[in-house]
């Protein structure tokens, strides 16, 4: 099998992103077992849920709210994962319509595979970028999840001393790259304020879910929208956390 020059660029980008994301997997695995999930449950999340933010949400909400917060854990995870559905719409023409391929492509449709695909200019390179990144991240994420879970099991209580801070820092790290635009910053600030206000007033879990209202309000009205720097959109972005993926809208890529 031989690749053209643009396809090789996509291939290298995918492998590099896969290696970078693997370190997140280790953090997830260790945090998950420290939160009370067993190694199997931790690995099932990485194998089948396979979306970093949602996985951290499941273990974070269970760690602080216990099993009575189970439905909240599920809802937080589902809200966090809705963006993957948007990525899938955009990736459909990239991966083709074969009924056998689509379920596999669906499972691999995440921030990273979408971002690398959209950073390529040619359709074939986009396809190579999507599959290379998806497969590299899937393998790396699952191997390091297992490693993190096994190490977390050994560390046990020592790990527990700083566990709550680790979970908070992990969410902050996933949020950080998404704060480049004013609108996202406003939503983040308002969500944190609303959730904090609700902590003493509502059952555990509800403060997090209530923040969805902030996203709906600002998203539907396009409040605090600032015209974007067009040049920034044209720059390739190799970061492993694309945040708002450039070129996601068809109208953008046509302009």
């Amino acid at each position: 099998m031989s690749f053209s020059a643009p396809e090789k660029v996509a291939l290298r980008a995918g492998i590099a992103v896969g290696a970078a994301v693997a370190t997140y997997g280790f953090s997830f695995g260790a945090l998950s077992v420290a939160s009370g999930l067993d190694v199997w449950q931790t690995c099932v999340l990485s194998l089948f849920l396979f979306s970093g933010g949602s996985q951290f949400a499941v273990v974070g909400v269970l760690a602080s709210g216990g099993i009575s917060a189970g439905w909240t854990a599920i809802a937080s995870s589902a809200f966090l994962g809705l963006r993957n559905g948007i990525y899938s719409i955009r990736m459909a023409p990239v991966v083709g319509t074969s009924a056998l391929i689509r379920p596999v492509a669906a499972q691999l449709t995440i921030d990273e595979s979408t971002a690398v695909a959209l950073n390529q200019n040619e359709p074939r390179a986009q396809r190579v970028g999507f599959w290379t990144t998806g497969i590299a991240v899937y393998i790396g994420w699952n191997l390091t999840t297992l490693a993190g879970a096994l190490v977390g099991n050994v560390l046990g209580d020592v790990n527990g001393l700083g566990l709550d801070a680790v979970a908070a820092a992990a969410f902050l790290g996933l949020l950080w790259p998404r704060l480049k635009q004013l609108q996202a910053g406003v939503v983040a600030a308002a969500s944190a304020l609303l959730a904090t206000t609700l902590i003493p007033l509502a059952p555990p879990g509800v403060p997090v879910l209530a923040a969805a209202a902030v996203a709906l309000l600002v998203g539907l009205t396009n409040w605090f929208h600032r015209p974007e720097n067009q040049d920034a959109h044209l720059q390739p972005d190799d970061s492993s956390d694309p945040g708002d993926v450039p070129g996601l809208h068809r109208t953008d890529s046509a302009s």
Binding site: L80, R83, R102, G162, V208, H249
Partner: protein
């Protein structure tokens, strides 16, 4: 409700969300509202999770070792430190503060 049920239902919903995107018409992307709401939902959930994980103890607000730990992590993220370094630093800061009895 068991942990296994949470794990399996959350996993199923994740896959259904991803797969549904391959079945709906491309036209939906011409309206950026759906994309914007989905991206902002991610931001809102993560930010609320940061607040709740840093401040809550059950249904009360507790200011403890988590605050300096998260501030250290924020500083490291601002300096573009790798994810695992910043996250581990937060854990170490909180654990040490508690070990020496300087914070709850």
């Amino acid at each position: 409700m068991t942990v296994w049920l949470v794990v399996l239902v959350a996993s199923a919903l994740s896959f259904v969300t991803k797969y549904t995107g391959y079945l709906v018409p491309q036209r939906l992307l011409e309206h950026p509202t759906a994309t914007r709401v989905a991206n902002l939902l991610t931001v809102a959930m993560l930010s609320a999770l940061v607040a709740v994980q840093s401040l809550s103890m059950g249904q009360s607000i507790e200011l403890d070792a988590r605050i300096p730990a998260v501030l250290v992590a924020a500083g490291l993220f601002a300096l573009r430190a790798p994810f695992i370094v910043a996250v581990a630093a937060a854990g170490v800061v909180a654990a040490l503060l508690r070990l020496f009895g300087w914070a709850a």
